[in-house]
Amino acid sequence: MSSTPIRHPGLNLGHAHAEAHEASESLVFGFWVFMMSDLIIFGLLFATYVTMLGGTAGGPGPGELFELKSAFIETSLLLVSSFTFGMASLALKYRTDRKVLVGWLVVTLLLGLAFLGHELYDFHKMFTEGGVPSRSGFLSAFFALVPLHGLHVTAASIWLIALLGQIAVHGLDTQTKTGLMRLAILWHFLDVVWIGIFSLVYLGGTA
C-alpha cells in the first residue's frame, strides 16, 4: 500500500486497483476543484443569511421557527450517513466481495433519504407557522441556504442510485469505482456544509 504514490487528496484506491487508481488522479482532483467552486456558492449564501438576520420585517424570526431537537436529529442522520459512506469506501478499497459495499451504500442512501424526509417535514411545519420565504428577507435567505443543501443531498442520492445501477450493470469497473470516489467527496462535503448550517443557523438561531 505504501509503495503506491498518492494520486490525490483523500482515500486513494491503491495498487490493487491499478487502473482506477491511475484514472482517479485527474477525475478526483477535478472534483475537488468543483467542490471548491461549490463552496463559494455556499459561503456566499451563508454571508447573505448573516446579513439578512435582521430583515424579519415583523415576521417570525429564528427563535420562533427553529427547533433544536429536530435539527439535531437531522444532523445525526447525516453524520451517520457520512460514517456509513466511509465504510463503503473502505469496502471498495479492501473487499473483493461486492455485497458489503452495496450494503453500506444502501444504508447510506436510506439515511440520506431519511434526512431529506425529515427536512421536508420541518419545512412543512415552518410553512404552517407562517415561515414562508415570501414573508421576509430573513426567511428568503433561510430558504435559499438550507434547501440548497437539501437539493445537493437530493442530487447526491440520485447519483448514488445511478451508481448502484451501474454496479448492477457493469460491475465494479474503473468507471463505477471512480464514480464512487467522487460521490464520497460530495457526500462528506455536504456533511461539512451541514455542520456549518447546524452551527450558524440552528444553534445560532435558538441560542
Binding site: 488522479e25 485527474s26 482532483f29 477535478g30 476543484v33 468543483f34 471548491m36 467552486s37 461549490d38 463559494i40 456558492i41 456566499l44 449564501l45 447573505t48 446579513t51 439578512m52 435582521g54 430583515g55 424579519t56 420585517a57 415576521g59 420565504p133 415570501s134 414573508r135 421576509s136 428577507g137 430573513f138 426567511l139 428568503s140 435567505a141 430558504f143 435559499a144 440520485i158 445511478a162 451508481l163 445501477g165 451501474q166 450493470v169 457493469h170 469497473d173 468507471q175 464514480g179
Partner: protein, 702 residues
C-alpha cells in the same frame, strides 16, 4: 382552446413581436423603432435560413454532426467557441453604432425610444462580456493551451463540449429575444430593484437572467477543465517555470473562473427567486437589501475583468517575443505579476460603487487596493517594451494590434487610477468617463489581444495564413476608430453627461457625440475589413498554405506540429528541457522535427452527443422559464437529467488510433517538410512562407 393555448404558450403572445408597438400605437417614433427592431430580427432569421440552406444544399448535416457538434476535440471546440464570439461581436458592434447614432442625434430627442435604447445597451454589454469576450478567450485557450503544454486534449473533453453547448444556448437565447422581444433594459449588471418584478414584470429581465446563467455555468465548467488540464496533463519536463506565458495566464484566468463565477450564479439565482417565487432578497420592502446584489455582482464582476484581460496579456507576451525574435524579457516578473493581479482582483470589488454609502475609510482602503493593481500591470508593460528593445521587430498584423494595445492601454490604465480616487469618483461616476475608461481597457486590451491571437494562430488551425493587407487595414481601423469613438467620451464624462442617456439637452455635448459616432462608423469599417480579410484569405488559401506548421519562427510547442495538427496533437508526447521548448529544440541537436524510433497506439475520447443535448435542453429550459411555459421547463429538465444519468452507463468512451496510422500520418508530414524551402524571418509575410523557418543568422539575439 384558449385555455390550452395559454398552457402551451405561457405568457407569450402577440405583443412579443418586435413591431407590435407600431401596430398598436403607430407614432412615427414607434414605426422607426419597429423597422429597426424587426430588421434585426429578420437578419437573424435570414442568417439562420442561409446556414440551414447551405448545409442542406451541400448535404453536410451528417458531417456537421460527426465532425463538429459531437466532437470532443479541443481544437474543434475552440474554433466553434470563436465562431460564436465573432457572430455575437458583429451584432454587438452594430448595436453600438446605433447607440452612437442615437446620441449624435440625441440633442432634445433622437430617433430611438428610451425602451429600445435600454435594450440596446443591455444586450450590447451582455453580449460583449458573456457571448463575445468569454467565448473568444475560451476558444483561444481551448485551441492553444493543450498544444503549448504538450497534451493530447483537455482533461475532460466531453465536459468541454457541454461547456460549448451551454454558451451556445445562452447566445441563442439572446438572439431569440430579437424576434420574441423584449430583452432586459436593466444594463449588463442588472441592478435591482429596477430588475425586480415590481418595476419590471416583463420577460426581458428573465431572458437576461437565464442567458447569463447559462454562460456562467459554462465558464465555471471551462475553468475547472482548463485548470485541471494545466495541473495534470503537462508533458514530461514541462515544469511550472517552463510554461509559456500564455498558459500561465490561462491558468490564472481559469482559477478566477472557478472562484469568480459562483458569485454571479448566486446573484442571478437569488434575483430569479425574487422574481419567480416572491422571495425578498433585493426588494425594497419586507427586509430585502439590494446592496447584497450589488456586492455579489461585483464579487464576480471584478475578477471577471481580469478573466477577460489576463489571456490577452498572455497573447501579447507571445506576440512581442515572437515578432521581436527574442525571448520574453522578465519571464519571472511576468509570472509573478500575473499571479499578483489574479489575487488582487478579489480585493477591489467595492470600487464599482464608491458612491453607494460606505464610510470614507472603507472607500479609501478599496481605492488604495485598486491603485495597487497598477503596479503589476505596469511591470508587464515594461517587460513587453524591454522584450522589443533591441529586437528585430517585424510589423506583422499581430504586432500592430500589440503596439496599438500597449499605447492605448496605458492611457486607459491611467484613467483607471483617476477613477480609483473615491473623491474624484464622486464627480464622474456613472458618467461617460467611466464608459470611456472600461472600453479603453477592454477594446485595446481584450479585443486587440483576441484579434492579434487570431492572426497569430489562424494558420495553425487551418493550415493557411490570414491575408496581411486587409489584416493591417482592419487593425488600423480598429485603433483609429477606437480612439475617435471613445476619447470624446472622456470629455463628455467630465462635462457631466451621464452614461446610458437616450437623450440630452446640453448643446455643448453635440460635437463630442458626433465625433464619437464617426469613430463608431470607422469601427464598423474595421469589422468589414475583418470580414474581407477572412474572405480573401480563404480565396487565396492555396497561395498562403503553411504545411510546415511554423510560419513565424515560433518558440513554444504548438509550432512543432503540422498545421492543422493531427487530432492527437503529438505523434509522440514531447519531452521538455527548457523554457521556449521548441526554440531550443530548433537550436540544439536533434533537429526541429525528430523522427521517433517507435510509435504507440493513441487513445482518444470518442464522440459524444452530450454537448448538443445540453445546448438544446439548456435553451429550452431558459426559454420556458422566460415565458412561463412550465411544461417545457419540466420536459427539458427531465431530458437533461436522463441524458446525464445515461451518460454514466456508457462504457465505450474512447477510441484507439493504431500506431501504424500515427506512423503513416507523421511520415507523410515529414516528407512534406523535406520538400519545403526554408524562409527567413524577413520574408515570412511573402508567399514564399511555407511554414518552415530558416535558422537565424549566427550570433543573433534570441
Amino acid at each position: 382552446m384558449t385555455h390550452w393555448a395559454d398552457w402551451m404558450l405561457g405568457r407569450l403572445d402577440w405583443s412579443a413581436l418586435p413591431f407590435w408597438d407600431a401596430i398598436v400605437d403607430p407614432t412615427t417614433k414607434n414605426i422607426v423603432n419597429a423597422i429597426i427592431a424587426s430588421g434585426a430580427g429578420a437578419m437573424v432569421i435570414l442568417g439562420g435560413l442561409i446556414v440551414v440552406g447551405v448545409l442542406t444544399w451541400t448535404r453536410r448535416w451528417r458531417w456537421l454532426w460527426r465532425e463538429w457538434l459531437t466532437s470532443p476535440d479541443h481544437k474543434k471546440i475552440g474554433i466553434m467557441f470563436i465562431a460564436i464570439a465573432l457572430v455575437m461581436l458583429a451584432r454587438a458592434v452594430i448595436e453600438a453604432v446605433f447607440m452612437r447614432l442615437q446620441q449624435a442625434f440625441g440633442l432634445d430627442g433622437g430617433f430611438l425610444t428610451a425602451d429600445h435604447f435600454g435594450q440596446l445597451f443591455t444586450t450590447h454589454g451582455t453580449i460583449m462580456v458573456f457571448f463575445m469576450a468569454m467565448p473568444f478567450l475560451t476558444g483561444i485557450i481551448n485551441y492553444v493551451m493543450p498544444l503549448q503544454i504538450g497534451a493530447r486534449d483537455l482533461s475532460f473533453p466531453v465536459m468541454n463540449s457541454i461547456s460549448l453547448g451551454l454558451t451556445a444556448a445562452g447566445a441563442a437565447i439572446v438572439m431569440v429575444s430579437l424576434m420574441l422581444a423584449p430583452f432586459s433594459t436593466g444594463g449588463w449588471s442588472g441592478y435591482p430593484s429596477f430588475t425586480e418584478s415590481a418595476a419590471n414584470p416583463g420577460a426581458g429581465v428573465d431572458y437576461w437572467i437565464w442567458a447569463v446563467t447559462l454562460s456562467t455555468l459554462s465558464s465555471t465548467l471551462t475553468g475547472i477543465n482548463f485548470a485541471v488540464t494545466i495541473y495534470k496533463q503537462r508533458a514530461p519536463g514541462m515544469s511550472w517555470l517552463r510554461l509559456p506565458l500564455f498558459t500561465w495566464t490561462a491558468l490564472c484566468t481559469s482559477i478566477l473562473m472557478i472562484f469568480g463565477m459562483p458569485p454571479l450564479t448566486v446573484a442571478t439565482a437569488l434575483l430569479a427567486l425574487d422574481r419567480y417565487l416572491d422571495f425578498h432578497f433585493f426588494t425594497a420592502d419586507l427586509g430585502g437589501n439590494m446592496m447584497n446584489y450589488i456586492n455579489l455582482f461585483w464579487a464576480f464582476g471584478h475578477p471577471e475583468v481580469y478573466i477577460l484581460i489576463l489571456p490577452a496579456f498572455g497573447i501579447f507576451s507571445e506576440i512581442f517575443s515572437t515578432f521581436s525574435g527574442k525571448k520574453l524579457y522578465g519571464y519571472g516578473a511576468l509570472v509573478i505579476a500575473t499571479l499578483a493581479i489574479a489575487v488582487l482582483s478579489f480585493t477591489v470589488w467595492l470600487h464599482h460603487f464608491f458612491t453607494m454609502g460606505q464610510s470614507a475609510h472603507i472607500n479609501a482602503i478599496f481605492g488604495i487596493a485598486t491603485m495597487l493593481i497598477g503596479i503589476p500591470t505596469g511591470v508587464k508593460i515594461y517587460d513587453w517594451m524591454l522584450t522589443m528593445f533591441r529586437g528585430r521587430i517585424r510589423f506583422s498584423v499581430p504586432m500592430i494590434y500589440a503596439i496599438g494595445f500597449i499605447m492605448l492601454f496605458v492611457i486607459g490604465g491611467l484613467t483607471g487610477i483617476i477613477l480609483a480616487v473615491p473623491s474624484v469618483d464622486y464627480q464622474i461616476h456613472n458618467s461617460l468617463f467611466l464608459v470611456a475608461h472600461f472600453h479603453n481597457m477592454l477594446i485595446p486590451g481584450l479585443l486587440f489581444g483576441m484579434l492579434g491571437g487570431t492572426n497569430l494562430w489562424f494558420s495553425k488551425a487551418f493550415g493557411f495564413r490570414l491575408e496581411e493587407r486587409w489584416g493591417r487595414r482592419a487593425a488600423c481601423c480598429w485603433i483609429v476608430g477606437f480612439m475617435l469613438a471613445f476619447f470624446p467620451l472622456y470629455a463628455l464624462g467630465v462635462l457631466g453627461m451621464p452614461r446610458r442617456s437616450v437623450a440630452f439637452f446640453e448643446p455643448a455635448y453635440l460635437p463630442w457625440t458626433v465625433a464619437a459616432m464617426v469613430g463608431a462608423v470607422i469601427i464598423l469599417v474595421a469589422m468589414l475589413c475583418l470580414l474581407i480579410q477572412l474572405w480573401v484569405s480563404v480565396r487565396d488559401r492555396h497561395a498562403n498554405r503553411v504545411p510546415g506548421g511554423d510560419p513565424w519562427d515560433g518558440r513554444s510547442l504548438e509550432w512543432s506540429v503540422s498545421s492543422p495538427p493531427p487530432e492527437y496533437n503529438f505523434p509522440v508526447i514531447p519531452e521538455v528541457h527548457s523554457r521556449d521548448a521548441y526554440m531550443r529544440q530548433k537550436e540544439t541537436g536533434g533537429g526541429a522535427h525528430p523522427r521517433p524510433d517507435d510509435y504507440e497506439d493513441i487513445e482518444m475520447p470518442a464522440n459524444s452527443a452530450m454537448g448538443p443535448i445540453f445546448a438544446i435542453t439548456g435553451f429550452l429550459l431558459a426559454f420556458g422559464l422566460t415565458w412561463y411555459q412550465w411544461w417545457l421547463v419540466v420536459a427539458a429538465g427531465v431530458a437533461a437529467l436522463i441524458a446525464l444519468i445515461a451518460r454514466g452507463y456508457v462504457r465505450d468512451t474512447t477510441r484507439l488510433i493504431p500506431a501504424a496510422e500515427v506512423r503513416r500520418q507523421h511520415e507523410a508530414w515529414l516528407a512534406t517538410l523535406a520538400s519545403l524551402t526554408p524562409v527567413t524571418r524577413a520574408d515570412e509575410q511573402s508567399a514564399a512562407n511555407r511554414g518552415l523557418p530558416a535558422s537565424p543568422i549566427e550570433g543573433a539575439v534570441q
